[in-house]
Subunit: 615 residues, 2 copies
Amino acid sequence: MRTSIATVCLSGTLEEKMHAAAAAGFDGIEVFEQDLVVSPSAPEQIRDLAADLGLGLDLYQPFRDAEAVRPERFAANLKRAEAKFRLMNRLGTTTMLVCSNVATAEIDDDEVMAEQLHRLGDLAADHGVRLAYEALAWGTFVDDFEHAQRIVDLADHQHVGTCLDSFHILSRGWDPAPIEAVAAEKIFFVQLADAPLLHMDVLSWSRHHRVFPGEGDFDMVGFLSHLVRAGYDGPVSLEIFNDAFRQADVHRTAVDGLRSLRWLEDRTRRALAGEPARDRLQLQALPPVDEPGGYDFVEIRTGRLGETTRLLHQLGFALGGHHQSKEHVQVWVQGPVRIVVNNDVAHDAPTEVAALGFEVADPDTALERATRLAARPVPRTQEPGEQVLRGVFAPDGTEIFFCRRPGHGVPAWLGEFGADEELDPASLVTGVDHINMAQPWQHYDEAVLFYTSVLALAAQPAQDVPGPSGLVRSQVMRSSDAAVRLPLNVAPAAAEQGSFVGAAYPEHVALACTDVVAAARRARRRGLELLPVPQNYYEDLIARFDLDEAFVASLQELDLLYDRDADGEFLHFYTGTLGTVFFEVVERRGGYAGFGAPNAPVRLAAQYRRTHAHG
Amino acid sequence: MRTSIATVCLSGTLEEKMHAAAAAGFDGIEVFEQDLVVSPSAPEQIRDLAADLGLGLDLYQPFRDAEAVRPERFAANLKRAEAKFRLMNRLGTTTMLVCSNVATAEIDDDEVMAEQLHRLGDLAADHGVRLAYEALAWGTFVDDFEHAQRIVDLADHQHVGTCLDSFHILSRGWDPAPIEAVAAEKIFFVQLADAPLLHMDVLSWSRHHRVFPGEGDFDMVGFLSHLVRAGYDGPVSLEIFNDAFRQADVHRTAVDGLRSLRWLEDRTRRALAGEPARDRLQLQALPPVDEPGGYDFVEIRTGRLGETTRLLHQLGFALGGHHQSKEHVQVWVQGPVRIVVNNDVAHDAPTEVAALGFEVADPDTALERATRLAARPVPRTQEPGEQVLRGVFAPDGTEIFFCRRPGHGVPAWLGEFGADEELDPASLVTGVDHINMAQPWQHYDEAVLFYTSVLALAAQPAQDVPGPSGLVRSQVMRSSDAAVRLPLNVAPAAAEQGSFVGAAYPEHVALACTDVVAAARRARRRGLELLPVPQNYYEDLIARFDLDEAFVASLQELDLLYDRDADGEFLHFYTGTLGTVFFEVVERRGGYAGFGAPNAPVRLAAQYRRTHAHG
């Protein structure tokens, strides 16, 4: 499948956008007119740069308000178009997007529009240009693709075809199935955009909230399947207007975009299994997804070894050993939970979750899939005889490793730490319940797409949690059997609060245990100061859940928090924060499926008071 | 009018919110339950703090899902309520907000709801509490205030009344006029929130996009007038759920909120002129607004005197003189434009627009109005015999001075610079055309309210301008005769681009002139390097406007930009940026009313290339 991206999706200069698109692996770009207008590079220089980068200039866009106008205006439009055709000749671009008229349309007559498109087509043909007519969702007279197609058919000109944009079709609720009836040679271009289902006016929705395929709620596989069945074999291009993308680093946006297309391509190929049509668009398959069965390890990188190991010990971990060749790396174990502590950093480096190891069936396949999805592999060295760890960087820089499922017992790499014991069956802690990762707000969609496409984690309904410095969006990603739960916390933009945000929205590792009371008592005995929970909270708890006062007093004694849903109960406590990481210990009773979200404001407020204390 | 604010409007801890509300001048607050739950302060401590701060605890909120439920659930609700009544007794709060049921409503029967509210009222009465029942816009069975009122009337209990919230009424398009028919003693509480007219679902609209009265599109004066006519005399309280407010500094949000109420109070009082009802709510008037007739001066504060005065000279300014007592202050003049250059800062201080002087009829009245609107006065010293300058800080920290209109000739303060000459009638530059001020995105609403309420500038329709690092919202504020034009530019949040944003979205002073070609030639002669405009722009200009090529060549020779609307033409050029300021020189031909917005992307791209050059 030929992949393309409109320059309007990306931040920076036209030249920066082109470099980023090429580096991410796109085959071509759409040149957005304004990006060229504000560039000091001549069209010939852009053409040469594209050639050097191996990028096609697949489309020039947009040409607006061409048709449905009175004759004198149409004459002016022809003149305006001719200047653009000459420019396109200098660029070496042969397809121009013509949007249905929104500003100057006066004549609501298909014959007139077709005739004007025909005459524009004559002029285009003189310059070797083809016109791709697109029905904007808010076009004055033409706002659906079937209407645009009828006009193009009426125009009956070799140089006049259509452009199909998933947003303009799906946002209006038009049925995309009739695409299959369109003659393939009349589809000159295809643009893809996904979007969350928002109840707002379609123009604002389109201008600000489009996302890459797979990041929204539209059926993009279904849409592309219709195009495949129609026999389309041209570029499939991303055209995304999104406020966050406009501000984000151009290289990561480009990578995010290419990932979305590769994933869509793979899913569409699978959806069309057995249909010969899919060969026409040359849909490529990805290696199969290898859903993780659990956490193999968590790596904490810290400049403060003493504080970190003290906290681990307080939580019940024992030192498993030191790595045989990596001098500053040790492992702490408790039951099936393994925390690698990496002290190979400066003393003042922040304490952070540096890496996650996921148990998968076949690490090689998982890595292959991830790199095909444009994830960057983690460079790693090992001594002869040591385990090879395969991993990639997540969008936030966390290293994601694919580790072979150990079957019974402990993973082989523990041997490198001299830690070859069996699992302790009596351990209070029985696993990693979840790991909460903080994400910058402008990379939220990218993170969700990464974990969905690379690890087949599914996004659960998102929730807003109020904190003292703004709303925090909590987006849980989960494997199908819930063995892996990964809540992503998206902190507010918070220009004002500056560095405080990092400390107020730290990441955390939540440990599952069978007896949180015993775990809390042990932690207290070992000197751990739990995050304090206010008296008011416990009074509210009694009122809210009609709980027994003695039970609540027992919670309060240990700073335990409580939640309940229809299927069970949730008891948990938090530690203080080291750098940007803290720990939580949770006990699920019955089938409780949540994460104690009603208690998150208590935690956020307590953390805020610790980092920001005045008043 | 008694002013109140819900703690949910503000960021920080409950204690911080209370301090900020008191400091801004509110009479009371609504205690949002969750703010109390997460606080380590006991209810008695909050009560004492409120007393110390002179704040009333006007409302406890919210109590949810009380009514329209089956008997067994209602029994649990009574128990839940009693715990809250006891808590309110400890707080010393006597009114509780009861929202119409959204989660557990099962019985759609007014009699049942009334009977349950009556029984809840009995229990409340035992604790000296009153219940204010509010129809949420998305209530399951009760979503309009008239329905809520009918149920309250049916309940017929001294301790059961209503709470009227402008958002819940106006967002649904309910006619607020029937408020006047409600018995005043049954209106227990009033909450005000304004909102921009957005086409989205009402729950998201309410939770994220409420703004203070005067910052949105609702008719708040009309709404408050109905309450006044009903005879309401209780607190008027702000309840605003807004993502930006949640993140903003708590003190400035509180000030913004109080300003909105004071301004609303004044406008409502004027709207009700002659109606005796207004005395019941004790609506206070503000001093009359003094609309500015022009710019008296612009003050640039800079650590780089040489660069700044060189640029001013290149633009045609002459040194008017040095201040007699302020050693590091000089004035540069050109026709009626006066730029005060203040060098009384460190050498590495950024060059910035520090102050604006506006010509008004009566500076004392203007200052009095501004301070009554919670603006902080600028502290200033002067020697005996020197002019007293009266001013306040705008939300972004710019000093806004109110200067007496000089009639003919030059203002008296110029004498302090030894510059008592007459105006130069032959000056190319004829005034300040506009001043473009950069605003952090989270204070956009606050800035608009400030300039509207203090200086009677009116907000024009906002526009989004695409730049290489995101969309910039351009919000023009304008006096009624356009003598003062103040576009506010709201830069994207742009966490990623960091410090670059300050340089990429600088402020600017635009000078009006009668001959921009002559001004550009003079500037070139004096060595000014104008902001470069790409060749592609001029080629596009010819295509877009069908302009004469020779004319466009003459523009290009001088890096002039061009725009046209139905009423005239606009020619302009930009200088490079000093610190966070640059200059623009504009010539308006005919009745052109805009600001060259289509050319802003060219400028943003050129500035981006200068500060961020790679590729």
